[in-house]
Chain length 407, copies 2
Amino acid sequence: MTLIVEKFGGTSVGSVERINAVADHLIKKHQSGEQLVVVVSAMSGETNRLVGLASDISDEPSPREMDVLLSTGEQVTIALLSMALQKRGNDARSYTGGQVSINTDNVHSRARILNIDGARIKSDLDKGRIVVVAGFQGVDFGGNITTLGRGGSDTTAVAIAAATEADECRIYTDVDGIYTTDPRVVPNARRLASITAEEMLELASLGAKVLQTRSVEFAGKYKVPLRVLSSFIEGPGTLITYEEEGSSMEAPLISGIAFQRDEAKLTIRGIPDHPGIAHQVLGPISDAHINVDVIIQNASAKGLTDLTFTVPRADYKPCMEILNQLVLTLGARDVRGDDQIAKVSIVGVGMRSHIGVANKMFKTLADNNINIQMISTSEIKVSVIIDEEHLEKAVQTLHDAFELESA
Amino acid sequence: MTLIVEKFGGTSVGSVERINAVADHLIKKHQSGEQLVVVVSAMSGETNRLVGLASDISDEPSPREMDVLLSTGEQVTIALLSMALQKRGNDARSYTGGQVSINTDNVHSRARILNIDGARIKSDLDKGRIVVVAGFQGVDFGGNITTLGRGGSDTTAVAIAAATEADECRIYTDVDGIYTTDPRVVPNARRLASITAEEMLELASLGAKVLQTRSVEFAGKYKVPLRVLSSFIEGPGTLITYEEEGSSMEAPLISGIAFQRDEAKLTIRGIPDHPGIAHQVLGPISDAHINVDVIIQNASAKGLTDLTFTVPRADYKPCMEILNQLVLTLGARDVRGDDQIAKVSIVGVGMRSHIGVANKMFKTLADNNINIQMISTSEIKVSVIIDEEHLEKAVQTLHDAFELESA
């Protein structure tokens, strides 16, 4: 018998009507012979309501009590979905994180799952029940309620799939799969039938946010077949796979193009070069809780060096202020900046074994008169920083050049 | 050190403002040297909101899932109250029913508490923490969430007081204690400094609904000193005590006067008398889920008997229909009814050892031209059924006759 874990987010269970629709869907799947575990989030809006109550009480509510509070959101959903399934004739059972021993560490609000006891779930499945589990939550060794932080329900689903050795873990979202790039930018972008977890991670971290990075990592660790589907449109979605040894030889050159708008670039020029410069510059930026993305350091003439990096556009001004201070303390020449840049990345496990992928990217952009300001590479990704006004053109011409519209 | 369990109902924690007020109160008590366990209900309105969601999903939601759903109400309150206490400097901890092992049977929606592990609570108290526990809920032996039904939070408070051997259990309500009778009817009604549990039970079941019967029974079983106080007005409230052997000799003759409006009386007359008549008449009434209160059977002439009983006024019509059917099947003469009656009861453990209390009641009513239609007695209570128009006069004259305005 096929055992499937399905996960529905807050929008998918955001109203009584949506919960009924999810119940209809599950009953149909169950009747087709699948054993089903369903992981659900809080109804959309509920978490905000609870956060609002807490902030009316305290500016700094304790993470432990926030977890007690927020975990009620999923608990409401599991009860309602179970009722809807029971009304349709299935003897469904709901479980909180604690009830199926989703054991976590004790880091409230962003706990990590340590282990799950799949026995109780399997016992219910064997009785023909659909099992409904609250996502996002667990218990620590002391029995305290914990929550897993952003994207936690995805992680719950993957962890349960691993613990029950499920055949597949399906994450229902508001998109019908992973695309070669954003269809709003490239109309002939193509839904990928499958993608490797590594590629998915690169695409996700670059802005194609469909799944939380953590749940993909978790799925990779336990080799859980993960599928992204739409909760609104029928379709096969995209299957996330795990590379077998040597299989990359046959992988397509590149799988997709990710991009990130709203970036800014800053350069501190003419710093007297000595070991530790990068740390001296980036330390204060990090202390200000600003995420630095691409970093490039070039030695310039006469023992001086330039350091360039990108940050989210919203952090451009505070970053500029920090650097202007550093110019004085480090004895650097000056600071330059550009807050109208964007990042474009090609991602693919295939590029590991195919020299020339990066070069093809650079040539394509050059042929289209798009100037590359910075380059950053990893094993399965090449990113370039360009003027934001060229973003759409860059993504479209790269999509064409790598023939991503055809499988 | 004094250990106190305090319980606040839904109105007392019905808003962020009220929760803050409860937190202020608790901090003051704690600073005065009391160890505190607080039991809270769901914020007023929350249970109705959840019930509404459930009934939108299913006409007949399963009791198990209703308990999963409704128990979130108290969980929200414990988190918010703990945050409010933490903001005021106490390292408060919240616990769901399951987390402090409030173990119940598995009768969902009206579970009974089997035992509580007080160790976890005591360990927190010893660290100077105020412990906040969700009322109304527990877990069965299988780890399923249960709820205790109406008045369940009172029962939780009493059970925790018993398990932790607390010095007192304080139930905060919207009244400032138990009165000799309803002050809206008798302006000189007096708040009782104390009342025995038995008297409290008789008063409660007769309409003076301050505490749920079950929590008083529970308190009596474990001899938990129980105090009823107002959550809005400062004051000592009323202490509920437990009779020691022989102490009833000194008890006041009667403690209070309870009454019940909106009653109706029905008589089925001329039933051929044979064993089982009462069952044959009252069985169909009970099957229709109608609560019968006072019952009187009189043999009349020629082997015929009359059966008279009272029911809530709202059930008068359906009752009349059932009886009219029974007249045919039992071969009785006819049915009479009166839906404008009321019940007045005097309650007191003292009447056990004082003959003449009932007679004084009858004489007082006779002196005031109030006709008694039915009489029912128990060890510590005498109830009479009278025409409803005389209710206020009856209660006032009895209150005067038994000198209840003075302690």
